[in-house]
């Protein structure tokens, strides 16, 4: 696999097959933590950090531990454990060695274990039979796509605070409809064939 292939893979993962707007992975934090651009960016960065590392860790676990023993069917259980342990480890590491980063990302970390974007990136990398480098690049790029989506959406929600929708639409429904309109914009990228 050449370098251009990896770049194309990343471009596709960020825009064409955006995790939120075309695949719906990670919609809970997308709808829950997108009220302000700063917190959205914090969440996005924490997810990027975890997804890149978990992409590497789950690939290694699958190819060096599960596959030699014929335990491929246990990948869901194994991956969720790896991700949970990794998140816990990152939290402890950051608290001890990089307190400044911990202060800004710390509160988002526990939420990431149950963020389906992380698990689905790991599972998709196995399903598509990526090599190690592609798996890490895929995790990183998918997380960038997630960050892009959540930060853009936080900007949209900031504007929405000044509008006055009908009472039944207030809160969650109008948020979903705004997300739908953004998804329409992102659907424009689906015409790009790589």
């Amino acid at each position: 696999m050449s370098f251009t292939d990896i770049l194309l893979l990343m471009f596709g993962a960020i825009l064409v097959e955006n995790f939120i707007f075309s695949k719906f992975y990670g919609c809970c934090p997308f709808l829950g933590v997108s009220e302000k651009p700063d917190t959205a960016l914090g969440m996005g960065m924490a997810v990027t950090f975890v997804m890149t590392l978990s992409g590497a860790a789950t690939w290694a676990v699958y190819h060096f531990l599960l596959k030699p023993f014929g335990l491929e069917y246990l990948k869901t259980v194994a991956f969720i454990l790896v991700i949970a342990a990794l998140v816990q480890f990152i939290e402890m590491f950051l608290r001890k060695f990089i307190p400044a980063l911990y202060a800004s990302l710390g509160i988002y970390l526990p939420l990431i274990t149950t963020n389906c974007a992380v698990l689905s990136a790991a599972l998709l990398a196995i399903q598509n039979e990526y090599s190690f480098v592609s798996a890490v690049a895929f995790g990183f790029a998918s997380a960038l796509g997630f960050t892009l989506a959540i930060v853009v959406f936080a900007g949209v929600r900031g504007k929405m605070e000044f509008s006055k929708p009908p009472r039944a639409f207030r809160g969650f429904p109008i948020t979903l409809i705004a997300a739908g309109l953004l998804a329409m914009a992102f659907a424009g990228f689906s015409g790009i064939r790589l």
Partner: protein, 219 residues
């Protein structure tokens, strides 16, 4: 028996996990392109919910508090793997069309939320019933969204053509954007219905107050 029905009503209507508690958005948005997929996804999640609630409730006195979330996730992912293998063996076409969303049941917030909020604090039988009620509520919500999306976006219901050949379906509703829009409108409708109940009470109170005021004036 009365308690059983009450719990069912609570899960399906009053406290519906998707439409009222707003949990589990990813599968609700992703697997509602057709009613068939919605039913499959809903029932798979229901089975996992019943068994995970049952076992977490059985083990609730043995699981140390500090590691409970990790323990819950292991129990849940065990049942998800079983459901995944069973679906692969017996309903292969459904298994293929739901794809990665079957293993993703592990991180469905409804299941972890019920484990944490209900099964870890209640007895075994009510916990299993709670799993059934919440699972059916989730299935109901999925079917509701999928019905709108399949009829408008594809002109069919459960694969049956409704409008004949002349109908040009609004493809948008099958696309991802349509999922967000449809769910937005469905939840708005639910909020409208819930508001109506409140409005009625408020109007009754108001009219009572007015009557009293009028009486006082005449006196």
């Amino acid at each position: 028996m009365k308690g059983f029905l009450k719990q069912l009503k609570e899960g399906i209507l009053d406290n519906n996990p998707t439409l009222v508690q707003l949990l589990g958005m990813c599968p609700t948005l992703a697997t509602t392109t057709s009613v068939k997929n919605a039913i499959g996804m809903g029932l798979a999640a229901t089975v996992v919910l019943i068994f995970s609630n049952l076992f977490i409730s059985l083990l609730r006195k043995f699981i140390p508090k500090q590691v409970r979330i990790a323990a819950f996730i292991v129990i849940i992912s065990g049942f998800v793997t079983m459901v995944e293998l069973l679906m692969k063996a017996f309903v292969y076409s459904l298994y293929q069309s739901l794809g990665i969303f079957i293993p993703l049941i592990v991180v469905n917030c409804i299941i972890l939320a019920r484990a944490e909020a209900y099964a870890s604090k209640n007895k075994v039988l009510p916990s299993a019933v709670d799993g059934l009620a919440m699972g059916l509520g989730f299935t109901f919500a999925l079917i509701l969204v999928a019905t709108v999306r399949e009829i408008v976006g594809n002109g069919t219901f459960m694969g049956l053509s409704l409008f004949g050949d002349g109908y040009a379906p609004a493809l948008l509703f099958i696309m991802p954007a349509g999922a967000f829009l449809t769910l937005g409108f469905v939840i708005a409708a639910v909020q409208k219905i819930r508001n109506m109940g409140q409005d009625k009470e408020r109007m009754e109170k108001l009219s009572k107050l007015e009557e009293e005021a009028e009486k006082e004036e005449t006196v």
